[in-house]
Symmetry: C2
């Protein structure tokens, strides 16, 4: 079994009202020096697969078909074997 | 300026309906072998700070005061200097 961490973030230039709201809230709490806040998604998937290559292929497909909107979002991922065996 | 990446995920045992919905959708698309899907937040913050230690202190506070609900969520973070100077 593989543990996959997928990080999805908005592309540069795409408006991020949620990030702007958080920035405003942090400033209202007294935190200065914040240049930018961007909000994204962090998806953890546990998947059974015959090999890391196969898992990677599936994860890329899943991202492109369902998890990520390629028009406005970009993604990266990490695939690892968990510490303990399944 | 420091670039901070914050990963927020639901604690083990906390129900994750969004993750369950994604798991169902991936299975409906024909992907087998998925054991678990957990949905979290990925927050990127650019912050001006005198030192990495100071930035870290602020980020921890921000997480505990605003960004993370410690009852149901856990978080981790990475702080780095961006490649190019500000």
């Amino acid at each position: 079994m593989f543990e996959v961490k997928i990080y999805v973030s908005l592309k540069k230039g795409v408006a991020d009202p949620q990030g702007a709201t958080i920035k405003g809230a942090l400033e209202a709490l007294g935190y200065g020096g914040i240049e930018d806040v961007r909000m994204g998604k962090y998806i953890q998937i546990k998947i059974n697969s015959s090999s890391k290559q196969d898992a990677e292929k599936k994860i890329k497909e899943m991202c492109e078909k369902l998890l990520v909107n390629p028009v406005i979002e970009r993604y990266s991922y990490e695939i690892s074997l968990p510490d303990r065996s399944p």
